[in-house]
Amino acid sequence: MQVGSRSLLSGNEAIARGAVEAGVLVAVGYPGTPSTEILESIADRVDMEVRWSPNEKVALDVALGASLGGARALVTMKHVGLNVASDTYMTAAYTGVGAGLVIVVADDPGMHSSQNEQDTRAYARMGGVPLLEPSDASEAKEYTAIAFAISEEFDTPVLVRTTTRVSHNRGVVEVGSRADRPATGFVRDPAKYVMIPGHARARRPVLLERLERLTDYVEASPLTIESGDDAGFGVVTSGIAHHYVREVLPDARILKLGMSYPLPMNRIRAFSESVDRLFVVEELDPHVEDAILAAGIAVEGGTFFSRVGELSPDAVRGGFATAGILPAQPSAEAAPPTVARPPVLCPGCSHAPPFLVLKRIGAVVTGDIGCYTLAALEPLAAMDTCVAMGSSIGMAVGLAASGGAEGPVVATIGDSTFLHGGIPGLADAVYSQANITVLILDNGTVAMTGGQEHPGTGVTLQGSDTTPVNLMALCEALGVRDVRVVDPYDLAATYTALESAIAHVGPSVVITNRPCVEAPTKIRDRPFQVISEACTACQGCMTLGCPSIVWSEETYEGRRKVVIDPVTCTGCTVCVQLCPPLAIVAVPDREDAASV
């Protein structure tokens, strides 16, 4: 990226660029949509440490440590990641920082790729930590720099909250140069950094006093922007919602909040007095609206704008139409009938076959967060719970303890998720000698977020080799007596392994060993094809849900036969094992074809 150029960057890339320009020396995080690309986009930098941590809490610990060492530190995660990191987060607000510490949290309104829709702004208030809300790529870079400045000026961690639409929105960004900020060194200060009750008690008033100063700052800050000249009503808004309002009401009076915690309530009050009706347009929770109401200012918002899902220009237009600000909308043209297209596991995904086996066994399956969560959907339909990172094992322990499960209890968890939050659960399974089986679906990457490295892969984010965690040895060291590794592409072997592991009394672990077919490198073996003459149209192969297996033009007894898309088929052979009439065979390679 050329300094001074105008580049088209995504919000995430812009944050990363902002951190680079801010002279950040340590950037850490745990992958999670929609935050992942922040670190990935600077993985190739040699002038800073860019690392994946095993989980968000560790990431924040690392970043806080770096900060105390005098290096500017960036930590990134998705909204639910902050739940994991919240333990450190809440107390980091007490300790304050050394050099600047910025926590970027990407929310996912609409739950495009998440298990809930929580609003990070609530954490800002709970922790007493300032929160900035950029609304596009350009602001994302700008606000990151401001966040570091605030962090150091006020001795506090700073939250930068984006949403999917900000993180994954590309806009024009002007590229600046990197500031040279060498680490200033660690200064011993136990009263500030050792949060024993006696010290912490002293830090609580410091935090509250800091908040007051931050409120003064935001009242005067250029982060709060007033625009428009249309009298009659005004709109307080922040983040991406700001653009939707501008889109719908180009000339309206708008108070845009660049920092949404703490709030510039004096400016809001002044703004409210200049208009007849005051609206708040914010995504998800009525964070700003409640605060304004609590300040005794009349405001409208939640009545007109849904708390469920994402806002959009159309939703904002609809809200203002209901409020009588805009004329009523003619109802939009209905889409022509089309077909639902939920996400599916990739062709050749090594996660799919074990779930077929679990379905066959009739196991009660506690699931976890990752691609394999898609196994909950038809046609696999073989997952019964999915709550949070690492929850599967503890839940399995509990489910087994309840005696309420009708089949064997199996926890399924990915390699990265296991290292993230599964290990304590397995320790508990050993500790309580729970009669469960833990299936670790080791595909050697964090697949769901696009294939990141983790402590089990032996490679760092910046591409250098490191010591991988040995999952099998780890499980054995935890005290699991029955640990086995199986090739998930071999259905019979997987069946046998799971059956034996389930038969084992006490906790057992089965580890699958096929890599993700998409990352780190695309795996494409010789594709397979269906011999139409042999296909009985039983569609048994379709119980796998492989996207490469689709309908054929031909039918048998009124039912569609199948074909395999040779471009996307990875040659994993699982469907071959599912085809009783042996109608699936490999496409011959050129040499074979020539010898026919």
Binding site: R246, R317, C346, E378, Q539
Partner: protein, 288 residues
């Protein structure tokens, strides 16, 4: 209505390269001197799900999202996705659609009651909106040019025909963003896409008669020798041998009537009977 911001949509299926294509469009617009915002969703949706990208441009762009009914062009990389996103297109706008069909696995089983129907490829669905349509077979065109993976550039070429951007900016954007070594074929595909004629529509992709309900499994126990082949081949695990080696129907409702057990029973001991009255399938599943 928005000031000067214009909008277009790209839509396709996860894995088709919608994101890269939209980056090329955004880059070309940027090179043409516009303010540009482009927004897509990725993550889980990329796993074979529906992927779309909004692109807005003009002197100053606010919302990265295109309001409903305001896009000038929709470029769809797949037929069902064209239908899904067409409400974003403004009256009289344009639709560039690849006639390629990717039937999602969930809609690909006509043996289960949850079958959904894949829409027919038929340009007439756009008539009511007075849309300009261009239905192309990008895969065929790219294959003719020697690289099937350049199909997306064919679609971009067709899209470009509806936008007033200098060819130079397009070419620069393509050269800058496509994988190294594929610049030439992608440029050729792009040029071909500008000229490409409407495709001949494929045969209608309608599903055959829908699932008729669980079938009845009739076992002739006196002929059964308990070899277990049937239970091992049943895709729905309807059959099992009990401890005495006697065959039993354990999940009658799941039988889809595939007849594998019947065809592969060496002892003629299984008969599958269709249900008396066919179950009428529900209306096709609509998105949004």
């Amino acid at each position: 209505m928005s000031s000067s911001s214009r909008g277009l949509l790209l839509a396709g299926v996860g894995g088709q390269g919608v994101v890269l294509a939209s980056m090329i469009v955004a880059d070309a617009l940027l090179r043409a001197g516009h303010d540009v915002k482009q927004s897509e969703v990725h993550g889980m949706a990329q796993r074979g799900g529906s992927v779309f990208s909004h692109i807005r441009w003009g002197s100053k762009v606010d919302s990265p999202l295109v309001p409903l009914g305001s896009a000038e062009v929709l470029a769809a990389f797949e037929w069902a996705e064209a239908l899904r996103w067409v409400p974003y297109v403004q009256e009289g706008g344009a639709v560039v659609a690849d006639i390629r069909t990717i039937v999602p696995p969930g809609a690909c089983s006509d043996r289960r009651s949850w079958s959904t129907r894949y829409p027919d490829v038929d340009a007439q669905v756009f008539d009511c909106r007075h849309l300009k349509t261009r239905l192309i077979d990008a895969t065929a065109t790219a294959t003719e040019l020697g690289n099937v993976r350049a199909a997306n550039s064919v679609i971009l070429g067709s899209l470009a025909a509806f936008l007033d951007i200098d060819l130079l900016h397009w070419e620069a954007a393509i050269e800058g963003l496509v994988p190294r070594g594929t610049e030439e074929v992608n440029l050729a595909a792009f040029r071909a896409g500008r000229e490409v004629a409407d495709a001949r529509l494929p045969r209608l992709a309608s599903a055959p008669e829908g699932f008729s309900g669980p079938h009845e499994i009739d076992i002739r126990h006196e002929w059964c020798k308990g070899c277990d082949i049937c239970s091992r081949v049943c895709p729905e695990y309807c059959l099992e041998l009990d401890v005495d080696g006697k065959l039993a129907v354990v999940n009658a409702k799941a039988c889809t009537g595939c007849r594998l057990c019947e065809l592969l029973c060496p002892d003629f001991a299984i008969e599958i009977h269709p249900p008396p009255a066919p179950v009428v399938l529900g209306a096709p599943v609509l998105s949004r």
